[in-house]
């Protein structure tokens, strides 16, 4: 069979190849024939036209020959020729050639050369004469040429030999110019894309073939057809221009056939292949059937599943495999004798009966049911039955096939699962926390359609706020699967249905933020969410809830199941609000207190609070205060820093309240006076917290300072007055005591002379008293009227005047007094005082000059800070100020140079006058070198 197949295949191949070759050959032959036919058609057509032309020419020849009368003279040659030419356009020239010599030519014009031309004699081409001779000899019409014409050009000449009185007369001839000939035969106007025409003649002398249409190819190699014209050796060809087209066509044809061949070969191959594989399949199938039979037997007996076959009629068991027996605890023999229904618990078998009936009636293909079977030992086993019908040859159901699966364990697990499920359900439903099971998958996929890919969280958030309708859409896409009882309670709903129906009403406006947050969360695939937000009960009461959700495991991609808890925190929230509001109240209270309220805690006194007044009072923000651990310490004025800080820590450890006053540096670098009321709380002897209020007292301090300044002024003034009164009392008392003493002596004596002496003494005392009073009059110390009387003095000017007043003395002692003060220095001073001061100091300098030197006095002024300093320096005796004499220099009645008389009033007055004007005086001196008085005028 196999061999046969192969033979068949090869045979088919050979047959196909043969057929194709035959077809190809036939195609080629047909093509070839077609070509030849076409060429022959063209050939005949052309030939016909040539012959027509020749015939016409012959007729013309004959006609002209008729003009020759019996005498051998042509009559009316011209008229007849003209007439003939008119009708026969193919003829160019008509001639009569008596005795071979051309004598009559029409038209004569242009053909004059032909006259007298002996065509039987020596001619320009030997063939002319040969052919003429041939015409004469054969005595028939003969077309000769093409040949060169004597008048120029080439032409075909048709000649008829004319016999008159049985004697050769000559020729009657027509000349057809070559161009005319080619034109009228259609050769020159030949146009065909495939074929050319060619015209030739066998040279009568050389026998060579001469071709006349020089532009066209010769037939040598090309495919051509030919035909001989007349018997003058003319030949007409139709020549194929080139045979590439034909070859191309052939090639296409061959290609086509080759394709068909290949296709057929392949088809044959396929066909035989298929039949081969089919053959193989059958063998394999047979083997498989055998194997399957074995397998089935093994499966039936060894299967871990029970298989029964039972009769349709009585439901008796006909076949049972090993597994059924072991499952039910029966012997196979025992099992084969009982009815199927005996195995089942009776109560449930009824419905099965109807199902079995349906299978029998072929209304049902199979059914399954879970049943409890009786085990041989009396226990019950859960089994899963699958029953199908087995049909016999008559296509009737005659047996049932029952597959029994032991599902006892599964049933137990199921029961357990059911229990667990119920427990979880109760956990869900009885949970005191409101719980929802929801499906966000639509929201999730809706979010995926939005143009928010690649947005940051913040941008997504803004997108939702800008597109509130999207939020609404999301709420609509929220699918609630289940809610628990606490949830109903939270929303004051009587049933789940009521809640779900009004679900859109539980979102208050204040919940939008949390809702947006949660959408952002979903968009970014976060699986947990938690936020405090609000919700509404169905009757519109606002509730605060702690809103959280988790995506259930396994639904992370779709958000298909999400467990939500909405714990009611309204109570907490209300309390929190209360606390916050009371905190706010306290903090606003603290911040309104007109002082910096601060608090620090612990061993390290870390700042824990500072009120916002710190900004108003010091210019610092509370943050700046809190951030710098050493804020307070670093900003106390350096003058009191150490003492204040030390005192602060010392007193803080004593659990007492105390107050400190100090300057603290504000942000603009100015110092602010504060009074800090500090209170300390100790716990177990450790500082727990220290609080205080820092009240700004800069104004108060300024006033205090002003007060103390004016106090000082008054004090100084008082001191001066007291000093003065002391001096006055002393001076006056010394006189009064003298008077008292003298009067005492007068009392004691009785001698008149002595008394007289005492009276004189009283007079002396009176004089002295008078002198003292005169002095005192000068010392107008602390006279308030003068003090007010300040004016702006040019220092230079004032000094110049003082120098001028003592001009006489200066020139007498030849002293040098220099005033180096510049003109622009101005002081505010009483002018009389200033004159007195400069007078006294200058006169002292002149008076206590060094006798060994030329006296030099120099006035110098200099501005320092808020004061002008005037120095008066001399090169005089100097004063010995050892011990504490410096203090006494400016006292009244003090004299430092014994040899020079002095009242001891000058310096005293100078000092008093300086001090009365708020200035000071100081002295630097060295004995033998000189003295320098330094006056300081405050501005």
């Amino acid at each position: 069979m196999k061999l046969n197949n192969r033979k068949m295949k090869w045979l088919s191949v050979v047959v196909i190849i043969l057929v194709i070759i035959t077809v190809a050959f036939m195609r080629f032959t047909i093509k070839e024939e077609e070509r030849s036919n076409l060429m022959n058609f063209y050939l005949l057509n052309t030939k016909e036209r040539v012959e027509q032309t020749l015939r016409n020419s012959y007729t013309t020849c004959l006609t002209i020959a008729m003009t020759i009368n019996d005498q051998g003279e042509p009559e009316n040659f011209e008229e007849v020729a003209r007439e003939l030419l008119k009708h026969n356009t193919e003829v160019d020239i008509i001639q009569l050639v008596p005795q071979g010599i051309i004598q009559y030519v029409y038209p004569l014009e242009g053909n004059e050369a032909a006259l007298g031309y002996d065509i039987l004699g020596k001619t320009i081409s030997p063939s002319i004469s040969i052919e003429a001779q041939k015409t004469k000899d054969e005595n028939r019409v003969l077309f000769s040429g093409p040949l060169p014409l004597i008048q120029g050009g080439t032409g075909i000449v048709g000649r008829i030999p004319v016999t008159k009185n049985n004697k050769f007369w000559g020729f009657s001839a027509v000349v057809i110019k070559m161009s005319t000939f080619l034109e009228v035969t259609g050769i020159s106007s030949w146009e065909n894309e495939k074929y050319n025409v060619q015209f030739s003649k066998i040279n009568p002398i050389s026998g060579e073939e001469v071709f006349f249409i020089e532009n066209n190819q010769r037939p040598d190699t090309c495919k051509h057809v030919k035909s001989d014209l007349t018997n003058e050796g003319w030949r007409l060809y139709i020549i194929e221009k080139n045979n590439t087209d034909f070859i191309y066509e052939l090639f296409l044809e061959a290609l086509f056939l080759l394709t068909i061949l290949l296709f057929l070969l392949r088809a044959v191959n396929q066909f035989f292949k298929k039949s081969d594989s089919l053959e193989k399949t059958i063998i394999i199938q047979n083997q498989k059937i055998i194997e399957n039979e074995k397998l089935f037997e093994a499966i039936f007996n060894e299967a871990a599943i029970g298989i029964l076959k039972m009769d349709v009629k009585n439901q008796n068991i006909l076949l049972a495999n090993h597994h059924v027996c072991s499952m039910l605890g029966y012997d196979r023999d025992h099992l084969l004798n009982i009815c199927f229904s005996e195995l089942c618990l009776s109560e449930k078998s009824e419905c099965d009966t109807s199902e079995l009936q349906k299978i029998r009636d072929k209304k049902l293909k199979y059914f399954t049911s879970e049943k409890q079977f009786k085990h041989n030992n009396g226990s019950l086993i859960w089994v899963n039955l699958s029953v199908t019908g087995l049909t016999n040859v008559q296509n009737e159901v005659d047996h049932y096939l029952v597959i029994i699966e032991n599902i006892n364990e599964r049933k137990i697990v199921e029961a357990k699962n059911e229990e667990i499920r119920k427990r979880y359900e109760s956990l869900f439903h009885d949970s005191p926390v409101p719980m929802w099971e929801e499906d966000f998958s639509e929201i999730k996929s809706y979010l995926n359609t939005l143009q928010i890919k690649g947005f940051s969280k913040h941008e997504v958030e803004n997108y939702f706020y800008d597109n509130l309708h999207i939020l609404q859409n999301c709420i609509e896409k929220l699918k609630i699967i289940e809610v628990n009882r606490a949830c109903l309670f939270l929303h004051d709903a009587s049933s789940k249905e009521e809640l779900l129906k009004n679900i859109s009403t539980i979102f208050p406006e204040s919940a939008i933020d949390a809702f947006v947050q949660q959408l952002v969360c979903i968009h970014f695939n976060e699986l947990h969410f938690s936020s405090e937000t609000t919700t509404l009960t169905l009757d519109g009461t606002l509730k605060y809830i702690n809103f959280r959700w988790n995506v259930m495991r396994g639904y992370e991609d779709t958000y298909g199941r999400v467990i939500i808890t909405t714990e009611d925190i309204t109570e907490n929230k209300n309390q929190e609000t209360l606390i916050i509001s009371s905190q706010e109240k306290i903090s606003s209270l603290l911040n309104d207190i007109d002082g910096i309220v601060w608090e620090c805690e612990g061993d390290d006194f870390k700042s824990v609070f500072v009120s916002e007044k710190v900004k108003a009072i010091l210019g610092y923000s509370t943050q700046e205060w809190m951030a710098d651990y050493n804020f307070w310490q670093n900003r106390i004025h350096p003058d009191e820093n150490e003492s204040i800080v030390k005192e602060f820590y010392k007193r803080c450890n004593k659990d007492e309240n105390f107050t400190q006053e100090y300057r603290i540096k504000a942000k603009d670098d100015s110092y602010v006076w504060v009074r800090d009321y500090v209170s300390v709380t100790l716990k177990e002897d450790k500082v727990r917290s220290v609080r205080g209020i820092m009240v700004e007292i800069t104004k108060f301090k300024e006033i205090q300072e002003d007060l103390s300044k004016s106090h000082e002024i008054l004090f100084n003034q008082n001191k001066r007055l007291l000093n003065f009164s002391h001096i006055v009392s002393h001076n006056l008392r010394s006189h009064s005591s003298n008077i008292l003493a003298i009067s005492h002596l007068i009392e004691k004596t009785s001698c008149p002379d002595e008394k007289e002496e005492y009276y004189l003494m009283i007079k002396d005392v009176a004089d002295q008293l008078n002198h003292t009073l005169g002095n005192l009059n000068q010392l107008t110390v602390g006279n308030p009227e003068n003090e007010i009387n300040k004016s702006q003095l040019s220092l230079y000017q004032a000094i110049e005047e003082a120098i001028n007043n003592q001009k006489q003395v200066i020139s007498n002692i030849d002293a040098v007094v220099q005033n180096t003060v510049t003109n622009d220095v101005v002081i505010s001073f009483n002018d009389a005082y200033f004159e007195s001061i400069v007078y006294n100091l200058l006169s002292n300098a002149l008076k206590f000059r060094n006798p060994n030197k030329r006296c030099e006095v120099i006035f110098r002024a200099e501005r320092i800070k808020n004061a002008i300093i005037l120095e008066i320096e001399d090169n005089g005796l100097g004063i010995n100020l050892e011990g504490n004499k410096k203090d006494k220099l400016f006292n009244m009645h003090r004299v430092f140079h014994r040899t020079i008389s002095s009242s001891g009033l000058g310096l005293f007055m100078v000092k008093n006058q300086m001090e009365a004007m708020g200035g000071t005086i100081d002295v630097e001196t060295k004995v033998g070198i000189g003295t320098k008085f330094i006056l300081t005028f405050s501005l």
């Binding site: 002391h726 009392s729 010394s734 005591s737 003298n738 003493a741 005492h744 003494m761 006494k888 009645h893």
Partner: protein, 134 residues
């Protein structure tokens, strides 16, 4: 009665006071010699020249004086006294009733008393008796 006449130095720049004091002393005992110094400096110069033996037996010292006042003199004299190893009673005499002066005077152990002007016979008598100069 005495081998040597008693000498009392009165140091005061008030000439009238000097006269009156001399008068008063001579009224008590004409033999008492009064040494008059018109300034502390003169008294100091005089005393430093004759160390010890010929020093007066009593000093009546004024406070207010132009060149060397009472206190200056006192400081200088105390050094002198220490040097000479001899001490003489000193009484400050002043017309000042300022308590400061009295307190200052009392602060010197070498100063025997503070007397307010005017002096009279009884006061001088009492001092002399105190110093057993009579």
């Amino acid at each position: 009665m005495y081998s040597k006449p008693v000498k009392i130095a009165v140091i005061d720049n008030d000439k009238i006071y000097q006269i009156i004091t001399s008068k008063l002393i001579s009224k008590i005992d004409e033999n008492i010699k009064v040494l008059e110094f018109l300034d502390g400096i003169y008294a100091y110069e005089s005393l430093s020249e004759q160390l010890g033996e010929s020093w007066p037996d009593l000093l009546l010292l004024d406070i207010e004086m132009p060149i060397m006042d009472g206190w200056e003199f006192l400081e200088s004299f105390l050094i002198l006294q220490k040097k000479s190893n001899k001490s003489i009673p000193i009484y400050m005499v002043s017309s000042s009733i300022a308590p400061d002066d009295r307190i200052k005077a009392n602060s010197y152990s070498e100063v025997n008393g503070y007397l307010e002007k005017p002096l009279n016979l009884e006061v001088i008598q009492k001092i002399l008796e105190e110093q057993e100069l009579l």
